[in-house]
Symmetry: C2
Subunit: 203 residues, 2 copies
DNA sequence: TTATTCTGACAATAGCACGTGTCAGAAAAC
DNA sequence: GTTTTCTGACACGTGCTATTGTCAGAATAA
């Protein structure tokens, strides 16, 4: 009875296989949520999109919301990494930097439309736990927007929290409407509109 | 067999009784949604809050969403009537008028907290039919905000639809945060913050 | 009073999806 | 080749809620 468990399959250890399945579930979820919306996506549907069965769902996630959060955070990480890079490495004025960051934001939403729907729309109002994740992200986003338009010689007038929340709400609402319109206008035009609202943070 | 139906009860005709029950259901729904949230509110719970039974629920509404919409529109009518009155009858500058309308908006949300939760939070992302109602309201709200800050000698620069959507999103997001905070700041301060964002429409 | 209509409580049905369990066959180890 | 572990398909029980149906009793009209 030598506990010879953890046999290799396809050259991968048990842990590696489990993580690979987890990734497949997350990618499948992003696609399934994008197509059906989170509400209409059953555990079974996600598993089919991932090419796996329910068995493996519960191997990696306690329930549907846990997968939703994991998928959201995957997209979120991609977006913020990109936005922070643009913001940090941009050499121009605060005005130009703001426009560049916003352009990057809306460009990502256009390039990955399933991810965009999850990141902007599907995440909202699912339940208390998920709402907390969304709320935290809005704060983080507010930070980025505030830094983005802050003059370099920044004396930190520190706009109120509500103003910052409002600006974030505006930027996100623009994204929602733009997505709903089928990405009717150009990324540049959308970013310019959003920048008008973000300037409130620079005053 | 004289179809002597429609007997009066408590001095009310059958139709009057039915409408009265409908009203009770709507008021019960506003309270129940405020306490539990729409998602956690069963048909049974609404009926208990209204002091009626499921039988009468289906007498007036096809399903839960129909009642949600009816309750939302009840609150919505109250709010818009008030906002339009303030806007129309205000004599000062565009700036002052804007502040007055916003103050009225946030004051209502504070005075009727159950209604506020329904009007701002619970209505969102319930389903396609309800989302359409919410989307229509945001447009209407955008109209009010745009008129509110428009200079009297208005040459209508007509801000883009996305900008307007963004401003509405900002004002609503401020409401959400304020509600979440337990109405921490004064109505006046909140309205002042919201006005900062609304000024984008006046440019 | 007597007959009729209305009302409220509750039972019964049905549907949906979660979460778990089973099991035969595939893939690796020996 | 034999044994053991892993994998995928699927069935099952469970719980929750909407929605319909039933029925005894209250309120009203005659």
């Amino acid at each position: 009875m030598t506990t010879a468990r953890a046999r290799n399959y396809a050259g991968l250890s048990a842990d590696e296989r489990r993580l690979a399945r987890r990734e497949r579930l997350i990618e499948g979820a992003i696609r399934a949520y994008g197509e059906l919306g989170y509400r209409n996506t059953t555990v079974k549907a996600v598993c089919e999109a991932a090419g796996l069965t329910e068995r493996y769902f519960y191997e990696s996630f306690a329930n549907s919301e846990a997968l939703l959060v994991a998928a959201f955070e995957t997209v979120s990480r991609r977006v913020f990494t990109c936005l922070e890079d643009v913001r940090r490495e941009h050499g121009g004025s605060a005005e130009e930097r703001g426009h560049a960051v916003l352009r990057a934001y809306y460009q990502i939403l256009k390039d990955d439309q399933d991810g965009a729907r999850l990141f902007v729309i599907e995440i909202a109002r699912v339940g208390p736990a998920v709402d907390a994740v969304w709320g935290a992200l809005l704060l983080q986003f507010g930070e980025v927007l505030a830094k983005m338009v802050a003059p370099d010689s920044d004396i930190k007038p520190k706009p109120g929290e509500l103003v910052r929340a409002g600006v974030v709400g505006g930027v996100v609402q623009i994204a929602k409407e733009w997505i709903r319109s089928g990405y009717a206008r150009s990324v540049d035009a959308v970013a310019a509109d959003a920048l008008k609202i973000c300037r409130v943070l620079a005053a």
